[in-house]
Amino acid sequence: MRRLRCLLGIAAFCSLGTAAFAQDTGERLNALENAVKSQAKTIEEQQKTIDELKEQINKQQAPQEQQAVQEPQPKGEDESLSAKVSGFFGGSVLSNPNISLVLDTFYQQSNLKSGELQNRGIPGFTTHGLDMHNGFNLREAEFFLFAPVDPYFNLYANLPIDDSGIHIEEAYAVTTSLPEGLQMKGGRFKSNFSRLDAQHPHAWDFFDIALPYRAFLGDEGLGGEDGVQLTWLPALPVYITFGGEVLQGDNDLMFGSDARSGPHAFTLFAKSSFEPTDNSTLYFGPSLLFGRTKNTNIVPDTEFTGHSALYGLEAVWKWKPSSQEGLTLQSEYLFLTQNGGLTGGDSLERRQDGFYLQGIYQLGRWRFGARYDMLELFADTFKRNGTQEDQGETPWRLTGAVELNLSEFTRIRLQYNHDRSGRDGRNNDQGILQFLFGIGAHAAHTF
C-alpha cells in the first residue's frame, strides 16, 4: 500500500515537472534536431573516412598478409631451432649421443636344481646349459648409444653389462647416403640372418630364444659378429630386400674363432612383404648362413672341425586392426648340414632341423603368447663314422606367457616353460617372472 502511494507521488512530481518545462519544448526540440543533424553529418563524414581508410588498409593488407605468411618461415625456423635442442632422434644436441639403458631382471623357479639347469645342454646339438639359477637373476643391464656420426654414417653401440663385465655386443656404423637403395654396415653387429637373430633379448616376444636357435647358434642366437653387411632395397612395387654379410665367425657353436685365420662365416638373405588386407601384413624370406666350424661345444669333450651351413625360412603374419588390439603369428624353420672330423679321427655328419610356431595376442596393455618349439622334425642325421647315433627322444618345448606393458618403458612378463629338450626323459618345468625397464632415448618399434 505504502509502495503504491510512493509511486503515485513520483508520477505526480514527474507530470508537474513536464508541465513546467512545456513552454520551452518546441525551441528545445528544434535545437536538438539541429544538433543531431549536424552530428549525423559528422558521423557520415567520419564513416566515409573510416571506410576509405579501411579500404586502404585492406589493400595494403593483402600483400602484407602474404608477406606475413612468408615472413614467419625463417622466423619460425629460427624459433624452433633455438627451442628444439634435439637431433632427429630426439634428445640433446651435438654434445651427447642418445643413450638408453634397459634393465632385464627375473625370478626363476624350476623343478630342476640350479646345477642341473646349468649343465642341461641338448645332446646332439649343444653342450651349453641354461645360464640361470633358481631364485633372483639379473640377466643384464643393456646400454644403448646412437647418434649420427656425420652426413654419411649413423653409429650404434649396444653394451650389455652382466656378472662377467661389460661387453661390446654391437658397435657398428651404417651408411646413410649410398644411392640406389644400397646400405653398408660395418663393425660388430647382430646378423640379419633369419628373424630372431637380429633382435635383442629384451625385444624378444618371450623370455628366451626359440629352441632351434639355442640348438644351432646358442642362447642369444649368432650374437654380435665382427664384419660387414651389404643390403639392397630396390624401388619395386613390392617390398623385397636382399643382403649379404662377411663375418669373422666367432660364434662358438656354429663356427669358432680358430676355425680359420680370417673371416669364415657368410650369410645371404632376402626378405619380402606385402599387405593382403588393410590391417594385415605378411613378411617372409629365406636365409643362408655358412662357413667353417671348429669348436668343442657340439660333442662333449671333443673338438669338431669342418664345414657348416644353416638354411632358414621365416614367416610372420600380423593383424593389427587398432593400437589396442593385434595378433601376430610367427614361424621359422632352420635346417643344418655339417660335415667334418672329431678329435681322434672320427668323422661327423649332421643333417638336423628345427622349427617353432608362436602366436601373440595383444589387447590393450596385455599380451598373451603361446609357443611350440621342436627339433628333428624331418631330419635327425647324426652320423659318427657313418653310423647313426641315437641321442634320445625328440627335443620339444611348450611355452605360455602373459605380459603387462604398463607403459612403453615397463614390461612385466610371467612365463611358463614345459621343456623336454634335455632328451633324458626329464621335464624342465620353469616359471619365470621377468621385469624389463627402459630409460633414456626412445627406441623405435621394429616390425
Binding site: E65, V69, G90, L236, Y239, D278
Partner: protein, 293 residues
C-alpha cells in the same frame, strides 16, 4: 629358371608407375591432404598412418619403408610424434634424398608456433612431448604457415613447376581466409570441455574455449579409478559442455563418465578422413566446429 626370374623382374619393373611427378610421402593424413592442395596433379602422395590410427603407437611396416625408399620428399609432423617409427623408416628406406639435412626432409613443425613446451620433464609424468604439444593440425593459424613452407619446399625440389606450387598456395591462402571467417563465427568462447587425451589444446587456444580436465590421469596413461572419481566430482561442480574424445581411444571411459554426470561425449575426428565429411583438411576443421557447436 634364370629366364623366369628375368621375366618376373622386368614385369615388376614395368609395373611400377612411370610417373614423372614428385613422390611425396606424408606420415599423417592431414599432411597428405595439405600437400595435395599445394602439389595437385604434379605430385603423388602416399600417407603412412591411417586416419583412425593412434599416431603415438605406429609400427614401421615394410610397406612404409618401401614408400620411404621411393620418396622424393618426406613430410612429417615432428615434435617427436613419429619418434617410434620414423627413425627406423629413415634408416631402412636407404634413401639419401629424405634424410635430415636434405631438402627432401620436411619437418612441418618448423613452421609452427609450438605450445606446451616443457622445460623440466621426465617420464613419471606420462607420455609427455618434451619439445611441445605435437597436435597442432587443429590450429588453422599454424596450417597456413605449414602450407606455405610446403609450397616453397616443393618449388625447391621441382623448379620447373615452382610457380605452379606458389600459385596453388595463393589459392590455398585465399580459401583459408574465406573459411576462417566462417570458423571465427563458431562461438565457442567461454565454453568448457573435458578431454580424454591432451589432444585438443591448440583447438582450444585457437577458438577460445577451455579444457578444464583430462580423463587420462597422465598423458598416455589410462585413467585410474580414483582419478575418474575425482573428475566426476569436479565435473558436477564445473558443469562442462562436453567430453572430447576420438574414435580410436577413450570412447568407453568417456561414455561411462558421461552416464554418471550427464555431460555428453563429443567424438571428434583426430585427423583428416577419420569421419565422413572430413575428406580434406578444410572440411576436417568444418566438421570439428560443427560438432563442438
Amino acid at each position: 629358371m634364370r629366364k623366369t626370374f628375368l621375366a618376373l623382374f622386368t614385369l615388376l619393373m614395368a609395373a611400377s608407375p612411370a610417373f614423372a611427378g614428385l613422390n611425396v610421402v606424408a606420415t599423417l593424413p592431414w599432411i597428405g591432404s595439405v600437400a595435395k592442395e599445394i602439389g595437385k596433379d604434379k605430385i603423388t602422395v602416399t600417407t603412412l598412418v591411417k586416419p583412425n590410427q593412434d599416431p603415438h603407437m605406429v609400427e614401421a611396416k615394410p610397406s612404409m619403408i618401401l614408400a620411404g625408399r621411393k620418396a622424393d620428399i618426406l613430410m612429417y609432423n615432428g615434435l617427436d610424434l613419429e619418434i617410434g617409427y620414423l627413425p627406423l623408416i629413415l634408416e631402412s628406406a636407404k634413401n639419401p634424398r629424405i634424410v635430415p639435412g636434405k631438402p627432401g626432409n620436411f619437418d612441418c613443425s618448423r613452421f609452427v608456433k609450438v605450445m606446451g613446451k616443457h622445460t623440466a620433464v621426465d617420464r613419471s609424468m606420462g607420455d609427455v612431448h618434451p619439445l611441445g604439444d605435437p597436435h597442432y593440425h587443429f590450429a588453422p593459424s599454424n596450417i597456413i604457415r605449414v602450407a606455405e613452407g610446403m609450397s616453397n619446399a616443393l618449388a625447391d625440389l621441382d623448379r620447373a613447376n615452382a610457380d605452379f606450387y606458389r600459385d596453388n598456395f595463393k589459392s590455398f591462402a585465399a580459401k583459408w581466409t574465406e573459411r576462417e571467417k566462417q570458423w571465427k563465427k563458431a562461438n565457442l568462447k567461454g565454453k568448457k570441455f573435458i578431454a580424454y587425451h591432451k589432444l585438443f589444446d591448440y583447438l582450444a587456444a585457437e577458438f577460445g574455449f577451455r579444457i578444464v580436465g583430462y580423463v587420462e590421469s597422465k598423458p598416455g596413461i589410462p585413467p585410474s579409478a580414483a582419478h575418474v572419481e575425482e573428475l566426476i566430482e569436479s565435473m558436477k561442480a564445473s558443469r562442462p559442455d562436453g567430453i572430447l574424445t576420438t574414435s580410436f581411444y577413450g570412447r568407453k571411459e568417456s561414455e561411462a563418465i558421461s552416464a554418471k554426470t550427464g555431460v555428453k561425449v563429443i567424438v571428434l575426428p583426430a585427423d583428416v578422413g577419420a569421419m565422413k565429411g572430413t575428406e580434406d583438411w578444410f572440411s576436417f576443421i568444418d566438421k570439428i566446429l560443427e560438432l563442438l557447436r
